[in-house]
Each structure stands twice: as C-alpha cells, then as structure tokens.
C-alpha cells in the first residue's frame, strides 16, 4: 500500500504529462462525452428508484398524462406504508445487528490472524497466508446447502446467530488478507524498540501496531460492513419468519405479494435499504477504494 502511495505521488509530481498536446474539442468527444454516457447509465437506476418511491400510484402507471421521468405530486405514502404497515423497521434493525456483529467479530479475529501470519512468522506462516487467500475465493453459492444443514443441526435456524456466525466465512479471509498487506508496511524497528523496552507481543499489538493501522482497520471494517449488508443467499436460506429477515430478503419476499407489485413501496424499500451503506461509503470513499484495490494489488 505504501508502494502504491509513493508511486501515485510520483505520478502527481510530473502531473499533466503530455495532456497539453490534446485540444479541447478532441477531449470533448473522446473523454467527456463517453464519461457522460457512462455516468448516465450507471446512475439512472438510482434516479428511477428515487422517483418511483415518491410517485403516487395513479401517476405510476399512467404514462399518457404524466411524463414518467418526473413526478407531479410527490407523496410519502409508500414510505409511510413501508414504515408502519410492514416489518421493514424490524428488517433494518436485524440487518444492522447482523452486520455489526459479523463485522466486529471478523475484524478482531482478522487482526490477530494477520499479525500472527505477517509478524510472528511462525513455521508455515506463508502457506497459511496463501490458504487464507484461497478461502476468500470459495463462494457462498457452494457453501449454503451444507451450511443450512449445519445451522439446522446447531439449532440456529431462523435466528440472527445463524447469520452472525456464517458471514465471517467470507469476511475473515478478506479482512486478514487486507490487514496482512497493511501490517507489512509498518517498520519492524518499531516492534524491536518495544521488545527491547520489555513489551510483550500482546502489548506491541495493542499499543504499537493497532494505533498505526487505524486506516487499515477502517478499510477492513467498511468493506466487511458493506459485504455483510449486501449478503443475500445465506439470509434467504437460513431465515424463515418475516420479523427475523434482513432488508434484501424482506423486501424481495414480503413486499412482493401475488401478482400485484407495489412498485412504489418496493422502490422505497430498496432506496432505504441502500442508504445506510451509501452514507457510510460516502464518508469513507478513500478507505473503501483503497481496500478494494489493495486486495487486488497485494
């Protein structure tokens, strides 16, 4: 990660490069126009989600008298329905509990594992590091059937613990891998100084390494949070009763009744379910990006 930072700095050092050679009209066609198209396509579904969520039902299906792209009489009726007539608040709460629980467990466990692999360098540490990376590549689609069986046998079926305990399977490998990369950038000398002063390994981890790796911890935490907020297949398989569902599962299975699709409240549900991650993401964009690209680059 330090390497990446220095090389970016180097790029910024002789900023511009040969940019002055291309003139504005050419840039307009080769850069700004495609960028505008990309932005439009990537963001339109969000606009469409928002506009549908505040559109009254009679406007929603009447394309003759109302332009579908705009809303004439915005309404909060769908949102009200969502908050007061469905289990939506419970789903939000469940998702929050499961996400926070799984994230905290994963980050704590991963810090210990990453420190152990990267700094204690026990026999076979390199192999363990590689195995952890491979574990990240095992997709939930392969594991959900045997896990469902286990969850049922352990008596966790239809409870939050089923999710809190299974989400770390895809969070720990990722967080460990990320933190390993981060710990690698902390100079050994700092640890050696602390060792000379008589600190134990535990003290070194808590008082030297952790304060220095706060950005890495935030990156891992943010990524773990969004990954578990977005998880679907485990939540769909392990949870049955409506009040225990998470937002993605609840919106899909409870708001869609028979053939009548309540598009307004579906979109409101999708919008509000996305907001927590989007808000968190907007505060920590750089951490998120660095964890995403860091995991690929290491």
């Amino acid at each position: 990660m330090a390497q990446a930072t220095t090389s970016t700095a180097a790029v910024h050092g002789d900023e511009g490069g040969m940019d002055y050679l291309t003139r504005l009209p050419r840039r307009l066609v080769t850069i700004y126009l495609p960028l505008a198209v990309f932005l439009f396509v990537l963001l339109f579904p969000f606009y469409w989600m928002t506009i549908t969520a505040i559109k009254p039902n009679h406007e929603l299906t009447d394309y003759q008298h109302f332009s579908p792209f705009w809303v004439v009489h915005p309404t909060l009726e769908h949102i009200k329905y969502l908050l007061f007539d469905t289990d939506y608040p419970a789903w939000l709460w469940n998702t929050m509990v499961v996400t926070v629980g799984a994230t905290v467990i994963s980050v704590v466990v991963s810090v210990l594992a990453a420190y152990s692999i990267e700094r204690l360098r026990f026999t076979g540490a390199r192999t363990v590091g590689l195995v952890i990376f491979l574990a990240y590549l095992v997709p939930p689609s392969i594991l959900f059937i045997p896990l469902a069986l286990m969850v049922f046998k352990l008596g966790l079926y239809d409870s939050e613990w089923a999710l809190i305990l299974t989400y770390p399977t895809f969070l720990i490998p990722f967080c460990t891998w990320l933190l390993m990369g981060y710990f690698r950038t902390i100079p050994f000398e700092l640890e050696e100084c602390a060792l000379m002063d008589g600190a134990s390994r535990w003290q070194i981890l808590v008082k030297v390494i952790l304060p220095l790796s706060v950005p890495g911890l935030i990156s891992a935490g943010i990524f773990a949070f969004t990954l578990s907020w977005n998880e679907f297949i485990y939540a769909l398989t392990f949870i049955q009763s409506s009040e225990n569902k998470t937002v993605p599962v609840g919106v899909l299975t409870e708001l869609v009744r028979s053939d009548v699709y309540e598009w307004g409240s579906l979109m409101a549900g999708a919008l509000f379910g996305s907001l927590p991650v989007v808000i968190l993401y907007s505060f920590f964009v750089d951490y998120y990006v660095s964890s995403m690209t860091g995991a690929v680059k290491e």
């Binding site: 495609p34 394309y63 466990v109 026990f122 095992v138 392969i142 896990l147 993605p248 991650v277």
Partner: protein, 313 residues
Amino acid sequence: MSQSAVLRRAPKRSGFSKLLENRNVLGLLFLFPAAAFLLVFLTYPLGLGVWLGFTDAQIGRSGTFIGLENYRYLISDSVFRLVVFNTILYTVVASVIKFALGLWLALILNEKLPFKAFFRAIILLPWVVPTVLSAIAFWWIYDAQFSIISYSLIHLGLIDHPINFLGDPTLARASVIAANIWRGIPFVAITLLAGLQTISPSLYEAATLDGAGSWQRFRHVTLPMLTPIIAVVMTFSVIFTFTDFQLIYVLTRGGPVNATHLLATLSFQRAIPGGHLGEGAAIAISMIPFLLAAIMFSYFGMQRRRWQQGGRD
C-alpha cells in the same frame, strides 16, 4: 508435546512466559480464532457439501451414500446441461463486456479531469449498493408493461409496442447480462484505474518520442504494464459472475423456460424449495472445477507480477 513437557519441568512462571515468547506457540494462539471459524464454517461445510453430493439426502432426512448417482443423473438431465451452457454463456459474455467497458472507463478516469475524486466516488455506487436492491430497480426498469426503456424507445419512434424484456428467452438472457454488467463495471474500472495510476507518464513520453501513436502506446505500454492486475481483477470478476445468484433470483428465477437459470440458482431451487439436498449439493460442487481453473489463472498472474517487480518469492 515437547513444549508442554518443558512447561512441566521448568518453574511454572518462567516456563509459561517462555512458552509465550515462542513464536510458533504465540503464532498459533493468535491464529486460533480465525482458524477455528474457517475450519468450522468453511472447510467442514465444503467437505460436507462434497459428501452430500454423493448422497440422496432430502430436507429432514439424512441420506445414504449412492456414489456418483447424482452426477450420473445430472449429466443425463437436459435442464442441467442447459444450465451449464447458460452459466458459461453468462460468464463469458458478461466478463468480456465488463472488461472492455471497465477498461475504457478506467482510461477515461485516468485522464486529467475536474472533480475526478467525485466521479470516482459516484461511479462506484452500483457496486456498493446491495445487489438485490438494485436488481429490484432493474426489475421495474424491465417491466413488461411500464418499462421506461420501452417508453423512451416508443417515444422516439424506434419501436411500436413495449419490449417483453424478461418474457422472451433471448431477451431475458440479454437483460440479466446487462444488469450484471451494470453492477460489475465499477469494480473493474476502479481497480484497473488503480493499476493505471502506477504506470509512470515518462514511459508514454518515451514511447511518443519513438514515434508511437496513441493505439501503439496503449497496445505496447499500457496493456503489458497492466496485464498482471487485469489477470487478478478478471479472475475475481469471473468467479463472482460464474457463481452469481442474487440477480437471477430477483429478475427471472431462472425463467423463461430455464433460459436464465445458472448453476447457483438451479442448485438453490433443487435443494431448498425442492428439498433434494444431495442433488443441489452435487450441482454446487460441479462449479468447483471451473473455479479452480480461475484460481490457477489468478495465481500465475500474481507470480508474474511479483517476478516483474523483482519481489521476494
């Protein structure tokens, strides 16, 4: 063993602290929680899944060993063969387009732009938002009657009746692939952008002085420098796409006439609502050879990158 023997012989306190100074003991102690989690909830289920694939287990009834029966049945099952074809088609088409468009977007973002950080932040939104929730938005966009795409095209006079996006097999395939591409482009673009930013501008200047045009600069400077990271990014992308479940489950549930069923959705359908755990597990396990191939690809990509950078092992 020998360590605990040391512990017994030596005076208790110093022996214990000596034990804690041993990096192997301490290393394993620190590694234990992660290892326990992964062994219990990842390695064991993986093994259990392989075992289930060889049994006729149903929901509520543990199965007996039936050897390769499930696999033999699946190979003769025309639905399964169609689904393997669908999955490969879905993965190949979506990955190729994601790569092309993602690389293009990364190249655009690598130019000098005002508000670059802002653009980068909002471009990642489709990747950050829960797939299921954005897929629900796409469901509405693809609605047979009220699709906004149909409306716009009719308005522009290009077509005269709404497109049945998810009702027609070919269109349904194209539609789910389009939604997958929409979600995947940001990941490919932003990670490749990070790779592009590490390429020094002086390389391009040198190439230009040697008379290279913009295509030649791309072909002979950008691509070779980017190859290792492309290998890793695309491996991730291929794995995510190949094992995709959410998008299909929301948009089509595998229909119409199984045209969009993928291995993951078929496995879910047979195992959970269908109750045939053994058969579902066998379908899930049959994804592993493909994933292994992708992982090998990624591994060698990284070796090459290390070697290029002259790093250790």
